[in-house]
């Protein structure tokens, strides 16, 4: 899983992709995931980190993370080839 280079994300969840010129808004959870991706973490590592941060169960995290990664891939924020891979 590789996040596109130069993705900019602001404190209040404004996300900009200079490669395509698209901008997005995301929430606190989304921001955290993008940050972890930028640190080069894989899916399992992201889940572990999130579990430590948020008050919820692993199943919800796993389901929601998969969906979020799918959306990132869809918008070409994640490298399309790696978005679905584990």
């Amino acid at each position: 899983m590789k996040i596109s280079q130069n993705i900019a994300i602001s404190e209040n969840g404004f996300l900009f992709n200079p490669a395509t010129g698209d901008s997005f808004s995301t929430n606190d959870t989304g921001k955290e995931i993008v940050r972890l991706l930028q640190e080069g973490k894989n899916q399992a590592q992201i889940l572990d980190a999130m579990e430590g941060l948020f008050a919820t169960d692993r199943a919800s995290l796993e389901k929601d993370l998969a969906d979020f990664l799918y959306m990132l891939g869809n918008y070409r924020i994640l490298d399309a080839n790696t978005a679905q891979s584990r």
């Binding site: 808004s25 929430n27 995931i33 948020f54 995290l61 869809n74």
Partner: protein, 454 residues
């Protein structure tokens, strides 16, 4: 360090296109209570889904209608349209408020009698009245609103053989300038069928023509159409007076007043475009009062059979999120535990849906599905809601009309219905169905029963 509250991750592409000049409208606040009763406590006790009715709203809405008409016209009588919601508790509230009953089948008729409505305060409408139904209604002194000539002849025969007299009215359909024209019920005004029917009734010594009736459509967005209808009924009544020296006692303008729901495909919210009760009252009363009925004692009584406008607002459906998924085209889909089985009106309304718990400022567009394993089960094709999670509760608004009568037992059972009384007490008024309810109606032939399990 304590953990942060979790909200599922959300990502929305920002489009720098043309702005929406109306803005994006979200229902701003979660709906956690109905008439002061917590939604969560109702669902914990009565399950999910669950229909809720507010007695306070029913009475307020009714009184507003009575005020709107009563301040403009001296003689007004409401008749509760049973088919709109014939739960006995609901009917009894309307009857307590002074409403008569308007029924369209013998089943509804018997319900009205059971609710204590005297026979002579029941209006019997509709195309389906058997000989037995007619006989029974006539014996009870009810008002028989005739829909077709076959009914007229049948009634005539019954009256002759049984030596009875009936108080009757004719249902008239007409062009009021709105589309679609409802011409399948009753006798047409413009083509002369209505007058023919009048002459036939007047020739029957055992029938007393006491009223003229119309119901010009439903969810009528034009109050003016009622003025046209009232004018035509008045002209007919005055023509009868001139030709036969016979006084028509009442004009029944039916129902059809819109509720605050938003029609599918409507650009604006329903509550922003519908006429008010005062608009309808002004159009109808104004039209009747312009006709030369003479002294006010001669004025016909105005009957109204308003249904949806009197009960829609008082009904809520509480439900729960079953699951969330992403569709093939990337759209978000949310699956609820209620669908078109309970919300028949979602076929033509875009029902307002509110979360029943706090949420953040993020919203997403989604399609809202019901629980049925059937493709037709779509509650909202596109709705913007906060980030719902499995188990979250929602409140669907304005579902009091037609849903608790047209609901279907299909795949799922009908749920509990509760009434919140004016003191905030919750009462179960219809028990949820279960497999026993259904099986109790079924019979297995003995030869199949004998082979059971073999």
């Amino acid at each position: 360090m304590s953990k942060r509250t979790y909200e599922r991750p959300y990502l929305r592409k920002l489009n720098a296109g043309l702005g929406n000049k109306f803005g994006t409208r979200h229902s701003q606040l979660p709906v956690t209570e109905i008439d002061g009763v917590p939604v969560a406590s109702i669902m914990e006790e009565y399950g999910s889904p669950c229909f809720v009715l507010s007695e306070q709203t029913i009475r307020q809405t009714y009184r507003n209608a009575v005020r709107a008409f009563g301040t403009r016209y001296p003689k007004v009588q409401m008749a509760w349209s049973y088919k709109t919601n014939y739960l006995n508790a609901v009917c009894r509230i309307f009857h307590e408020e002074g409403s008569w009953a308007e029924v369209v089948s013998i089943f509804e008729y018997r319900k009205a009698l059971g609710n204590g409505v005297p026979g002579n305060q029941i209006i019997f409408n509709g195309p389906d009245k058997s000989a037995d139904d007619l006989r029974f209604a006539v014996q009870n002194g009810s008002l028989i609103h005739m829909d077709h000539l076959d009914e007229l002849y049948q009634l005539s025969e019954i009256l002759a053989t049984e030596d009875l007299k009936a108080r009757v009215a004719l249902r008239i359909n007409m062009d009021t300038g709105v589309y679609p024209l409802w011409d399948r019920f009753g006798f047409n005004y413009e083509n002369g069928s209505a007058w023919t029917a009048v002459t036939k009734v007047m020739a029957q010594p055992r029938m007393q023509l006491v009223g003229l009736h119309c119901h010009i459509g439903t969810y009528m967005l034009s109050a003016q159409a009622y003025a046209v209808a009232a004018n035509k009924l008045c002209d007919l009544a005055l023509e009868i007076r001139n030709q036969y020296q016979h006084r028509i006692e009442y004009l029944d303008l039916g129902g059809g007043f819109a509720s605050g729901n938003t029609l599918k495909g409507s650009y604006l919210q329903g509550s922003d475009v519908i006429p008010t009760m005062d608009d309808y009252a002004e159009a109808i009363s104004g039209a009747i009062l312009q006709h030369p009925f003479g002294m006010s004692g001669e004025l016909p009584t105005l009957f109204l059979e308003s249904g949806r406008a009197l009960i829609d607002d008082a009904g809520y459906l509480l439900g729960t999120v079953l699951a969330l998924k992403r569709l093939g085209d990337g759209r978000r889909a949310t699956i609820m535990d209620f669908g078109v089985n309970l919300l028949f009106t979602s076929f033509w309304y875009e029902h307002r849906i509110s979360p029943a718990q706090d949420y953040s400022s993020h919203h997403e567009d989604m399609v809202l599905y019901g629980p049925l394993c059937m493709n037709i089960d779509v509650v909202r094709e596109n709705v913007s809601l906060p980030l719902l999670q499995k188990g979250d509760r929602v409140v669907v608004h304005r579902v009091g009309a037609y849903n608790m009568t047209q609901w279907m037992q299909f795949i799922q059972m009908r749920p509990n219905v509760v009434l919140i009384d004016t003191r905030g007490q919750v009462h179960l008024i219809r028990r949820k169905e279960d497999v026993q309810t259904l099986n109790s109606q079924e019979l297995t032939p003995a030869y199949l029963e004998a082979n059971k399990g073999s």
